[in-house]
Amino acid sequence: MNILKMSKVQKSFGRNHVLKDISLEVNKGEVVSIIGPSGSGKSTLLRCATLLETMDGGTLSYMGDNVCELKNGKMEYAKNLNKFRKCFGLVFQSFNLFPHWSVVKNVTDAPISVLKRDPEEVKAEAMELLRKMGLEDKAEAYPSQLSGGQKQRVSIVRALAMKPEILFFDEPTSALDPELTGEVLKVIKQLAEESMTMVIVTHEMSFARAVSDRVIFMDGGVIVEQGRPEDLFGDTKEDRTKQFLQHYQNL
């Protein structure tokens, strides 16, 4: 079943046409990585999918329900967007944890005050998730007391606590030094093994290759090439993709 379906997505900032006709479907349990140079529209695509940006054209749906539709040349979004926000979680490059709350409050507040779930139950689940991520001794710490890798793991736990159908990652390791990158990637791999549906924008090529069911290469606001990782990395079809991937092989 399609968890996420985007088709013919258009997005411009002023005269800058960032997304030109992007279509993307993600099935349950699928892990999709999006790679490509800076400015190719990867992050904008995620921001459109997570309702942080409004699209100029195209369609977006979660679990078969349309989020928006074009009416008389104007994009109209559904009234109750929170219904859709319950479907997805987003992990930011810069974590965006709430600095005035402890780790456990960061993780539990939204399920309690947005989803109106039972506080005791939420807290027990949160502690279980933190334990799984090796963070149980940090439950009462404040974000400023954590390393970058720990912050990012907490923000993954915060997203998971909402029990999303699909989890988006916007360059989850780009703000981390190489030593801390590993611990975050390990967590994402673990989620992949548990069949979490995920879309990951990343510059970590070997990680994308190892974890993904499908890799998408974007450039200039279009999908240039996509396929199974072994095909895209091993038997690259498009010249532009080859050119991009070369930069990683030279290292």
């Binding site: 942080l52 926000r85 997805f88 600095p99 005035h100 939204a110 947005v114 400023s144």
Partner: protein, 216 residues
């Protein structure tokens, strides 16, 4: 008149000084937040009118505003000036300080990174929840030092009430100074204000300490 009598007489007015101080804080702190939010309103008319009002309140002397609020109604509508001047004094002070607090709040709100709003939005928090639970607590922490500055100024500004002959401590002191041709009441007033502000600073430093349980 001996020193003790002077202090006693001026001490009588201290209650009114405190009344101006606390009532002004009570009204101007929330009013300032409302003005700050109106100033950020997406409807252009509202935000520009708000900004214009702030510029008038900050750009004209508090003394003038006190006179305008106290005697304005008489000149405009021939309403007699009320005997109890506390109301117009507190109104003038509250509006004036709200304008300053609004600018302090604005600086605080603008210091919160966009990512905080985005994280809250993705998690499904409503706009009101985002503001009350996530933005406001961080804003309060950021603005505490500048708010303290403003509150200390307010303590001293209460003396402006003498322009409309409101019988607070400084007005009484000035009257004694005139009738006794003595400089001593001014020294007494200075000591009063200094002690008052020492207490204010002490309390605010405690509040700041309590709020700094996290760092950014």
């Amino acid at each position: 008149m001996d020193l003790m009598t002077m202090i006693m007489k001026m001490g009588d007015g201290l209650g009114k000084t405190c009344a101006i101080f606390f009532l002004t804080l009570l009204f101007s702190l929330p009013l300032g937040m409302i003005i700050a939010l109106l100033g950020k309103c997406k409807i252009k008319v509202i935000s520009s009118v708000t900004r214009f009002c702030i510029s008038v309140l900050r750009g004209t002397p508090l003394m003038l505003q006190l006179i305008a609020v106290t005697y304005g109604p008489y000149y405009l509508f021939e309403v007699s000036v009320s005997r109890n001047k506390l109301i117009p004094v507190v109104v003038a002070f509250s509006i004036n300080y709200a304008a300053y607090f609004a600018e302090i709040y604005r600086s605080g709100i603008e210091s919160i990174p966009q990512g905080q709003y985005e994280a809250a939005q993705v998690l499904g928090y409503s706009k009101a929840q985002t503001f009350m639970k996530i933005i406001l607590p961080q804003v309060i922490r950021v603005i505490l030092p500048s708010a303290t500055n403003e509150i200390v100024t307010l303590v001293k500004d209460t003396s402006m009430a003498f322009t409309v002959s409101y019988q607070e401590m400084f007005t009484i002191g000035k009257e004694i100074a005139n009738s006794q041709t003595s400089f001593v009441p001014f020294i007494v007033a200075g000591v009063f204000y200094y002690v008052f502000n020492a207490i204010v600073s002490f309390i605010m430093s405690k509040v700041e300490k309590a709020m700094s349980y996290y760092s950014i």
